[in-house]
Point group: C2
Chain length 222, copies 2
């Protein structure tokens, strides 16, 4: 039922920008309950195909977008899923004031003292991903009690610091000598970077720049 409604909307009956009848009318036309229409519309809305506003009605999105979902697993799981042995190596851990760009990524106007952690994830003993992380000591002071040579900050945070907002960006960067060394890559190799910043409410938790090894790909789901 919902699927046939999806199909009906999408089979060329309506075009970009068109206004659809209100749920009640559609329900009557199709001989189904309004809740069913509502459910179908919600799906279409989630997929970015349609836009709905109270009183404004439902419109086919005028500028179609390709909307897709990315799952970023815990790095350990990602490595293990490839059938490799996971390894972790703490490189450096310092309590230091955030540089301006880092403060900015949190939306903070003034630098703060945070914990900076540089670490390497290994797959079968070989470098897999380098992470350069900043953790807010105001929001997550307990991290100072964690032995980060063995426990990995990524996982500790996931288990102990739920977040309410998360910004992610992907981009490419040329390997600096530092990255190339750490990752066992050629200098000037092209590397994919994932930057992730999380907050609980409006309080910063952590920001991490994950630099991957050459060839790394991010895949999306349907």
């Amino acid at each position: 039922m919902r699927d046939t409604l999806h199909a009906m909307i999408l089979d060329g009956t309506y075009y970009a920008g068109d206004k659809l009848p209100k749920d009640e009318d559609i329900a009557e036309t199709l001989g189904c309950a309004r809740a069913t229409v509502q459910r179908a519309m919600r799906d279409l809305s989630d997929s970015g195909i349609v836009e709905r506003r109270r009183k404004g009605g439902t419109h086919v999105r005028p500028d179609p977008v390709t909307r897709t979902t990315v799952d970023i697993p815990i790095t350990r799981k990602e490595i293990e899923q490839k059938g490799c042995v996971y390894g972790y190596q703490l490189i450096k851990q310092t309590k230091i004031e955030t540089p301006i760009p880092v403060a900015a990524s949190f939306g903070l106007s003034a630098p703060t003292e945070m914990l900076r952690i540089e670490a390497l994830h290994l797959a079968d003993q070989r470098p897999y991903m380098f992470e350069d992380r900043w953790v807010s000591l105001q929001t997550a002071p307990e991290i100072l009690d964690v032995d980060l040579t063995h426990e990995n900050a990524n996982e500790w945070l996931v288990r102990n610091k739920p977040y309410t907002r998360c910004d992610i960006r992907f981009y490419a960067t040329k390997a600096t000598e530092y990255y190339a060394d750490l990752l066992g890559a050629d200098k000037a190799e092209a590397l994919l970077v994932m930057e992730r910043t999380t907050w609980i409410g409006d309080k910063p938790i952590t920001t991490v720049k994950a630099v991957t090894t050459p060839g790394y790909q991010v895949l999306t789901q349907s």
Copy 2:
């Protein structure tokens, strides 16, 4: 109501791997309808926080993932939204048999004749993105009638060929001399690439490799 249920599940009552009571019991405990629980659970499930299986019940996901949504707009819109003037330039258009890797990306075992289109998107007259596209002539033969020097294949497809499946991948690549020339970038610059392949049912529509200019970022939502 749904929100309080969300909160209750997430406030530390259950841990990774835990099994939750069945919807009916939760509904009774909270004094709400089962449909309400179902709705809340569906949200949690969509967010990747919980996994549900008929008869198997609902479990908190044992391996937490960061799940996020990426919107990929029409390139024209993306450029215009930045306040730039959009430009488009067809570089080459050939009817040719797919190389093995291209056929493979569609899941085809044998090469087929397709339309290959190389084109450049411009922002304020400057190169913005290069696209190397293959379009199936079996699924979208009408594209041969389109004047691709003026109409851009991206938009024609979006408007005329709805798809049911879409695979996307992001990765970094070192600029070849060809890319560097086209994009006005330095040779060996790191470039972000988006590859997108779409099908209608199990019939291939198009696959496109979009090579971006240096500094390009993909942002995600919530």
